[in-house]
Symmetry: C2
Subunit: 468 residues, 2 copies
């Protein structure tokens, strides 16, 4: 068949003929946290490697119009990865992977596929802000589910759904639950397997569809107290994945889970790419949605990641990279916690475990939101940026809140900066509480005009630390 | 300020350290249509070129989370490009460029910004299918404006709007016009400047916002009868752009135009990137829409295109590349037209100019849609793929149509394939018309069961050729 039909240009008019990438080597990157590794590997992609037999994937394919699934070659590698990683893949046969154009894009597409304007989305009490930002413009409302030290509470989820009152809520009973089951953002809670099983049973009872968003799944620093050689350089994929808590996807006997594995924390945010895994029926809908919006991830991203994972690292090398990242995050976490021990006023706040301690405003004259703003501003004045817990609430705390905490991340700052920032944060905390005890909060540098206190404040703050 | 706030990972955890790309050289690519040029240039991007002073843009920036505008460095180059290309930039001062994540994505975002479900979008009678595909799921309806040899007709546009009946149409008077003013898809009509000015005046009268989609603007093969050295290797940007018809954007005194310059036809579709230019107010809305959906183009795409255009080619080199593409498309067009002259039955169909000739079904027993299907199937049976004109109608011709044509593209097939495909298409056309004249259409290989003809068919077909 000779085609004078589709409008794809000839690949002879793509001005890129070859790409060489210097990437980490599996035998070098494990040797620890410097800005550049001791040695790198060069990987090559030519324009016509596929027709010359050099590779199954080349620049001509990557830079042409693609499929709504992402390139078949990279999707195949990703499906194999999910298959090989025991605690990852579904117990049913007809599941599929596709590549999203980043998780924010997937967040926008999934509610369009699975909900209508006015519908409620069930979320953890505090959750990832981007979920609000993408869903609110679609007319989605939020029903918050309480969390405890093991994350989402099945009883509260069941209560909310059992007692759902359409008249009061102004919309039908929700059918969609969004959860970050591993290292939840911002509370860094990981749901243990029994908790996931309980939540799944409630989902079955009320016919919920679960959106499992798991950016930190493969790099869980909380699995280990300290870095050791075994965790840092696994010798098999099984060796590495056996320690991971099984995903919702892996217990999904009904096909009611869509799982997102973003690449931002394990490859690079700028690749604008992630993996989505679900039943073929759900994936087919998402592919159709891609076709009328984002189409597919950039071919430059796809070929770079394919060449890295498929041609250079392979499945074991990929897992060794993930282990390396985990080791790095364990070290960073330890720096943060040591700094907290050294510099934070234990009499006012707590930081481990994250469920311990909140500000409780017993007086009722200064709302918790005001206390939070006061500390946030004082910390900025002292030169430390942290994220207030209220930012992770659908209404940013405007309807009231009974806890104050800050999300503090050890993901990016240098270890020296982490220490100095915590030292200054501790000083800011002390200053706010001193001023409050003196009835002088209205006169702080931050310019907030607060009412004078007449009650008693029980001062304990949770510092929640997360890898994002 | 020390940040323990935003969740961006440290760039030390991006496993890409450097990228080398082999790209076309401005002194080599002009020497004509081979699969690879005689020589290439290697361009380099390191991880920390920005802090080492080597470049303003590097892999660490490109692979980190970005802005909804696209990277400042590439946006700057693109704004300069628009500024330098006289017939391109708006007559007002506060215009902005941003980078889309491909035109399909921009098609989905723009109606969400500027229209509501149920609103009508004004389009050319036949138009680019992706506009329907992205807008229909958003609840948009289509009002088709007649075209003549100069494209969109101002009178019909004015009539439609002046006589708009909300009750009949079921929705308010449209406020949004989508047009492909240059080499329109599928009709390959280029609106001359006076026509654009007339349309703009109608837009002012009825307060229309114009979405100008211009993928072929810089590679207009129809500007020249034959390739010559002057068109193929311009020595200044001005020299090249002075021949181009001024864009709607350039006559937009009111800020009522949003212009899309896709990169798919001039760089590569797989980059999933394009330029959008409009008033800062409209661009600000689009950036906000990006932030809650696609975020920004892939960093790999952005740095590859930045290094190519900014570091290697520069503004003149970019225009020389566009001139090279134009020369290539002129040659391809000539191959197609020569094949049409040789192999198509002039007594049944026409192909130049594109306004000449359509099938007219005077008998009314076989609808035009059936004739079109018959020819399409016969062509496939003969081994040639062409695209039926009805595919470019919002309802794919189900509500009737009074013209039959096929879009035939010379964009990608080899010159041998173009000739052979046209030869076979000509044979298929002859066969259908022979069978029709014998009353045997119901027995063709394609399996269509058509009613026997009892009337007369005036058989002229338009073969429309486009570079996409």
């Amino acid at each position: 068949m000779r085609s004078l039909g589709p409008g794809a240009p000839s690949t002879e008019y793509f001005p890129f003929y070859a790409m060489n990438l210097e990437v980490g080597s599996t035998n070098a990157f494990a040797t620890v946290g410097k800005e550049a590794p001791a040695s790198t590997t060069t990987i090559y992609a030519g324009k016509h490697d596929s027709s010359s037999g050099l590779s199954t994937y080349d620049l001509a394919i990557a830079l042409q119009y693609g499929q709504g699934t992402g390139s078949a070659q990279l999707v195949k590698f990703m499906s194999d990865h999910v298959n090989i990683c025991g605690p990852q893949h579904p117990p049913y046969r007809n599941w599929k992977c596709i590549l999203s154009v980043g998780t924010t894009s997937a967040f926008e597409i999934v509610p369009k596929m699975l909900a209508k304007p006015g519908d409620y989305l069930l979320v953890e009490q505090h959750t990832y802000t981007t979920v609000f930002e993408t869903s609110l413009p679609l007319g989605i409302k939020f029903a918050q589910v309480r969390i405890d030290k093991d994350g989402l509470t099945p009883n509260d989820l069941d209560d909310i759904l059992t007692n759902w009152d359409e008249t009061v809520r102004g919309s039908k009973k929700p059918s969609l639950l969004y959860t970050v089951p591993t290292g939840q953002n911002p509370c860094e809670i990981t749901q243990p397997l029994p908790r996931r099983q309980e939540i799944y049973r409630v989902a079955q009872k009320h016919n919920l569809f679960i959106v499992e968003d798991d950016p930190y799944y493969f790099i869980q620093p909380w699995l280990y107290k300290t870095v050791n050689q075994a965790t840092e350089h696994p010798t098999s994929v099984d060796d590495y994945v056996k320690a991971l808590v099984p995903s919702y996807l892996s217990i999904d006997v009904d096909g009611r889970v869509l799982r997102m594995d973003p690449f931002s924390k394990i490859i690079a945010p700028g690749a604008r790419m992630g993996r989505v895994t679900a039943s073929e029926q759900v994936i087919e809908r998402m592919v159709r949605a891609h076709e009328v919006s984002v189409q597919n991830p950039s071919g430059f991203s796809q070929i770079a990641v394919f060449k890295l994972l498929h041609d250079s690292w392979g499945h074991l090398g990929f897992v060794q990279w993930l282990a390396h990242l985990r080791g790095e995050y364990i070290k960073r976490r330890d720096v943060l916690f040591e700094a907290c021990e050294l510099f934070l006023p234990r009499e006012i706040c707590g930081w481990v475990p994250s469920t311990a301690g909140f500000f409780h405003n017993k007086a009722g004259l200064i709302s918790s939101l005001q206390i939070e703003k006061e500390i946030h501003s004082a910390a900025i004045d002292a030169g430390t940026l942290v994220v207030p817990g209220s930012w992770f609430l659908p209404d940013e705390g405007r309807s009231g809140m009974d806890e104050v905490f800050f999300r503090i991340t050890y993901a990016a700052a240098s270890t020296d900066d982490i220490r100095e920032a915590i030292k200054r944060f501790g000083a800011a905390l002390r200053r706010v509480f001193y001023l409050q005890s003196q009835g002088k909060l209205g006169q702080t540098d931050s310019g907030h005009q607060l009412q004078k206190l007449s009650g008693k404040i029980s001062p304990r703050s949770a510092i929640r630390s997360v890898s994002n």
